[in-house]
Symmetry: none
Amino acid sequence: MAQPTGRATSDGPSPAGATDGRPLRKDAQRTRALVLDAARALFAERGIDVSFDEIARAAGVGVGTVYRRFPDREALVDALFADKIEKLLDLVGQASEVADPWESIVQFVERGTAQMCADRALTEVVMCASDVHEAFARRRDDVTAAVESVLRRAQDAGVVRPGVEATDLAFLAHMVSLAGAHAGKETAERYVALVLDALRARPDVGPLSGRPLSMEDFQEIVQSS
Amino acid sequence: MAQPTGRATSDGPSPAGATDGRPLRKDAQRTRALVLDAARALFAERGIDVSFDEIARAAGVGVGTVYRRFPDREALVDALFADKIEKLLDLVGQASEVADPWESIVQFVERGTAQMCADRALTEVVMCASDVHEAFARRRDDVTAAVESVLRRAQDAGVVRPGVEATDLAFLAHMVSLAGAHAGKETAERYVALVLDALRARPDVGPLSGRPLSMEDFQEIVQSS
Amino acid sequence: MAQPTGRATSDGPSPAGATDGRPLRKDAQRTRALVLDAARALFAERGIDVSFDEIARAAGVGVGTVYRRFPDREALVDALFADKIEKLLDLVGQASEVADPWESIVQFVERGTAQMCADRALTEVVMCASDVHEAFARRRDDVTAAVESVLRRAQDAGVVRPGVEATDLAFLAHMVSLAGAHAGKETAERYVALVLDALRARPDVGPLSGRPLSMEDFQEIVQSS
Amino acid sequence: MAQPTGRATSDGPSPAGATDGRPLRKDAQRTRALVLDAARALFAERGIDVSFDEIARAAGVGVGTVYRRFPDREALVDALFADKIEKLLDLVGQASEVADPWESIVQFVERGTAQMCADRALTEVVMCASDVHEAFARRRDDVTAAVESVLRRAQDAGVVRPGVEATDLAFLAHMVSLAGAHAGKETAERYVALVLDALRARPDVGPLSGRPLSMEDFQEIVQSS
DNA sequence: CATGAATGAGGTTTCATTCAT
DNA sequence: AATGAATGAAACCTCATTCAT
């Protein structure tokens, strides 16, 4: 990851979290970072239903300030998402640079789930951003595109079971993360192995049939956790 | 299932929902059914966090009435659960009577997920009843036992990938249900196929490794949806 | 006491608790007694704010039944009062039969407070009956009259501090009971002694001055506990 | 007393009711005063069991506001209590400065009861503050200490009946206040006279016997009104 | 801008009371 | 007569949200 953890916060795509063109004032940026960090910590610890008051308290600012930056919970989640999606992008980027097409899938699933397991809120947050900010939407589309390209490469190489789509990959990774977030790394690994086996092309199984998940359905599922 | 959906309510094990020996009065039974139906519908539609007020409104009764029958959310969920677990038991029972060991797994996964997909709350509810009522706990253990026996039989016959445990089956079924509940039957079928493939013994894959889910972890996962 | 404790209940003035002329049916009498006993016990144990539902449960009858007999809390308290006032009457009667006028005051205060200390609810209940039932009111007036006669006799004999009135006696007794109910018999005795000293005529103190309590004020005080 | 009743509110020890260092904002101070005044009035009129909703309504603010300032009833009572205990302290202080030991008792009883009679809630509140705030507890202990010293001085001078303890004084004053609160000043004076007579040492009466009230019992009694 | 005070709707729960069975 | 089911008002409390300071 390019972004060192420990910095106040990572301001991914739009460097200072501004909605319009101008970047935020320095102190405002700081405040924004404080709120994001507090929210991230609380979400990770207690799930997504933390009151704004509490976030404000944890961040050491007034509620009003939180509202000024994030008009509603969704906006806050979106902002957090900005973070996460950068990480994922990084990850997919790295995965796609792996020479071996199958290995590249393996890396994506392994690292993606590892990351999601580590932060319980991440599992709740990734892929859930509403499309309010085009910047975010674009980023998400980048991820999707990257996943799709990784997948296509693998399929062209004939190492992935035919019919597998990007949403399949995403959904299976999500489910593994769910298990891993509750039961720990070793269990995640159990299901990573299972999932990879299931995705791998085999001479004796035909293409995956049935209606694949739409991206929207997938987002719904993730949102409902 | 014997119980046609659409009837006012299904009175599974204790026909009139009475806690003590006596059955409820006729009118009380009707009210109870109204509440259960309303709760079922709302839970199915919006998850388990519906307010009692709203349930009462939907059922066309006063809040107090809901509280009279179901002192807390758990009691209500349990009551709904009574229904569901009977259905599941039925199902597992039928599955275990199938002669072919693999077919018996197939049936369990197919029918179990089909049922869960039909009702979004079912996915939230099955396996989550607190152990307050031993009756329920016993039933749940019955289901677990049945699943385990189906699984063991299949494993003895060598048709299931070695190392697979009951919680794996349960978790994968849950996962499929989640997808199916959001995206519909055909998507569920897609993942049923995938899951069955993943569970089936193959000459070229070794035993499933890594730490399996404990029953408790599984219940936690289901509870968090 | 004429009424042996342990009997279902004592039906003082109007032998069967009937509002109109006719006595209650046998079973109705039994029910009434059950309710009264339950109420008495619960009031004694937890104060006067017990729900009717709970009284009904303790009595082993339906709430409706309680309401049939006692339209509201006051009626119930009144009925209990019937009991108590009989006991008090007994007591004052016995006290007034004592030959020595001062001794007769002593007995009244000692026994009256002893009785009130024993039952925490009694302290809450005695003297609080609304005047709905003339029968009760009459009985209460009987007690008052008896107290007054005991007092007058003592005053005529010059053994009581001049100016002392019946409400003074009542109020001081109530006060002692309050202490005794919380701190036990021995503390009650401490204040009985103090009060008797304060009431006794002495050569060196003049008549009690200031406005005496009206009976109504006294009842208010007792009601507010 | 320095604090004229009738002012918006009296800010006893901590001038602006702030919990931490900083004083409350101006508008918040005003609101707090409104709530306190409303609470004081309602408590005085109807006892301590007034609903927060009603207090809010009377104060002309939202319920949430009341809760913001006073998280629970105790906090509210404590805040009122802060006021009262200061007044009492004042009073005891003044009483203890009186040269004549007996006169000093007289003053304490007379003024203490006078104050309590004026406000029905005061009778419920004084001495009942939980020990959550050491500040209050300390103040209460100050009062107790002062009473004890006044009493000891009187006893050393031989003007008080031997065996009388601080709790006796407190309890008797409380009872007088109860009477006075209901029946008015003149009746209070009647009982003040009686009580003082009872407490005064006399050649012809021995020491007060029996178990004295413990401070805890006394507090219980006061709490139960 | 930042603050945190104020608001009130909405959730939970209990109970007095009525009324169909 | 007895029952207990049903009701809804009312208390309690929390929070999302707005707005004066």
